[in-house]
Amino acid sequence: MTRRGFLAGAASCALFAPGPLHAAGVPARIVSLDYGLAETLLALGVTPVALAQADAWSSWVVDPALPEGVINLGTALEANMELLQALRPDLILTTPYLARLRPMLERIARTETFAIYTPGGGTPYGLSIAATRRLGGLLGRDLQAEALISSAAALMATTRATLAPYADTPLFIVNFMDTRHVRVYGAKSLFDDVIGLCGLSNAWRGDTNYWGFATVGIEQLAHAPQARLIYLEPIAADVLASLHRSPLWNSLGFVRAGQVQRLPAVLMFGMLPSAMRFARLLGETLPKAPSHG
């Protein structure tokens, strides 16, 4: 079994990593326990061997698609150690959220922790830049990392220019949890950072946890009547119909002004690629709304 495992591993190495070009000592078989780190890997041109919760990638990250053959490790909080060991990774990427696993992971391979969403200081976008640089250094892909960082900055700048006419309308960014509650993204969220970089402002001024969101009843959105509401997929089947029947919902400023827009799913706990995807979607979507007045 181990021999076959090794062969399978070797095959995937040959497929995904430009082996001969690699300097010695650069890890080739990489495992990620976090979506944000995995999407950054992909953006740097590296395909992870395995990923926690790989099966739900297409519902939460969507773009870029996960290349075929990435092995699913089960849930992140309980990634399958036996499977992980059989895969013989060179490097495991994880987050402080999974700190409990670290001693076990270190028995298998070199383990690197990247802190993006933590109670500590810094904003997700800034921390993502630092993490991307560090990841590029670890993988011998400094150039690709710098390219990713500057293309993200460039995209933010162009989006800022595109969205200049909308600069004075604050935005609510929400996920509908059910027919009565939303998860609203505020300070310390990736979306909040992107909104700021694109010259827009966040309508949610309330408290958020260190993942950057608060779970509140929909009526809490009434306090910023001049705002615009952007909701992200996925959304349960009965939510919209039930909202349309609600007088309170219909009386909210952004509903009356027709300033409610739907966005495809974007990873809320992601890194630079998700930030870019969010900015791109905002740039495409906001101008489609009816103009002011």
Partner: protein, 657 residues
Amino acid sequence: MGERQRLGPAAIVALLALAAAAITLSTLALRLPVTLWPDALFAPDSGDVRQMLVRYSFAPRLATSLLCGAALGLAGALLQLALRNPLASPTTLGISAGANLALALAMLWAPGLLEFGREWIAMAGGLVTVLIVLALSWHKRLSPLTVVLAGMVVSLYCGALAALLVLFNTHYLAGLFIWGGGSLSQQDWTIAAFLWPRLALALGAAALLVRPLTLLTLDDDHARSLGLRVPLVRLAALALAVALTGAVVGTVGVIGFIGLAAPALVTVAGARRVAPRLIWSALLGAVLLWFTDQCVQRLAGDAGEMLPTGAITAVFGSPLLLWLLPRLRLSLHLPSGLGGSISRANRPLLLIVGLGLGLVVLLTLSVSVGRGLEGWSLSADLLEWRWPRALAALSAGIMLACAGGVLQRLTGNPMASPEVLGVSAGAAFGLIVAMFTLAEVGRGAQFGAATLGAFLALLAILAFGRGGAATPERVLLAGVALGAMFDALVTALMAGGDPRAAQLLNWMTGSTYAVDATDARVATAAAALALGSLPLLARWLDIVPLGALTSSAIGLHPRRSHGLLLLVTAALTAVSTLLIGPLTFVGLMAPHLARFLGLQRALPQLVGAALIGGVIMVAADWLGRIVAFPWQIPAGLAATFIGCPALMWLLARRHSV
């Protein structure tokens, strides 16, 4: 019962209503100037957010709290009357858990169904579970304790399934946490409009049932001789209660304890006849929920952070129930099967040796057989990952089984076990307090906090059970109350989306995943110690039930041996709860299975139970690891999946005895 001067149900309702009204008015005054109230309520200015919020959020929320409370109070009273069971309620009969599970399943695999309305899905789920509960206890003629036991087992099973779904799909089912917490937050009148005609209809139907239910308060034979079709009346009342509960849990979610506390409080306050009990239960339920919800809104404040009312009612409700307990008139009989005698095994030693051999075989299988990318394999190179888990599971199983056996013997209560009596919940509670107050919680601190929690819970339970006759039912009810309080706390944490809550859920489901070699060694040592001290414990246990006089005549200090037994039980529970969470039913099941195999005397029963507990947990850990590869089902949950059916089978089977 002493004839002290008591508040009647009317006075209680009036007092609570007054308090609730005061809070309501003062909150409303903060939200909107008094002069605008009539405008807001009758002709709101849609441009004024404050008026719209009062008209479409504050007012319907108030109405919904009243309606839901009344519906649950009525449902609880109907269930208690129909089953002649003061412990019956939507929560204890598994109706809420079934509704919760049905909704989770629909969200994952049939999202299209949601368009028909969440309430229908919830109602169907509640109906299925209550039918299962009744089927399981049918042969015992729905004896009260059997019904509640079956209800708890089915609840647990549904809860385990729902937890598993949430664990594997945390992102998708985030909404379920809110729903499970019973948030009353409203944006329009649809829920109130949905509920009130149903409540009115149910009240009408209940009025028709008053006479038959009155006859039912006699015993079955009397009622039958008066021409009452007992099963029919029971089923009608049950169906009504399920419909009421389904309507509530489907629209706002699980609201704990109102359905149990309101009717019980009304009975204690002196309502005896059927009609007043129904009416006052509904009214008291309404004002209870109204009062609670206003307090919750006040607590949450304008920031509006998530505080689900349903979870909070359970936190408020549990102490209330504990207070009620000594005041409840409980004249119940034990389910004949569980307490009854069983033929003794001819060769207990042979049986125990057989069990031990089985355990060894299973342990070997568990560390050597697993799944990988290429399918099944028999290999030894993954041993380092497997042995700590297997040993930890084994030790936890042994310790829980011992704790359960000791408790059952000590209290003379066939239903006693660390899980049922809330001792596990106490341990878990201690751990949570440590987790959220201390920055860094090492294993030592965890063990200390858990033991303290378990011991306090055990003391509380026994204190409440004492005084007058410590009937098994009272002790049981106190345990249920503690367990529900702990559950509610976790639900409240989950609903807010605190990331620590996901880790909490992970631990609660009894995962052996993160057990390391040191943990496993300590656990094994503790289990060995427990096994070693069994002969000593067993000597006491054979004597203690004989009564204080006999035991002191034999030379045992009853107080001291009693206290020591309790301490041992608490410590055993704490260690095993740390390892496999508070949710397994191993401590309840294993001693029963041992007895069922014919091990009667204290020592053989305890040893047999320990071995059976070990077998169940090792099997659970192993199966959990391989069944859903690469996903892993936590051992605690897997044990529930194995143990619950075993317990149900026991329940359903013993009717012939």
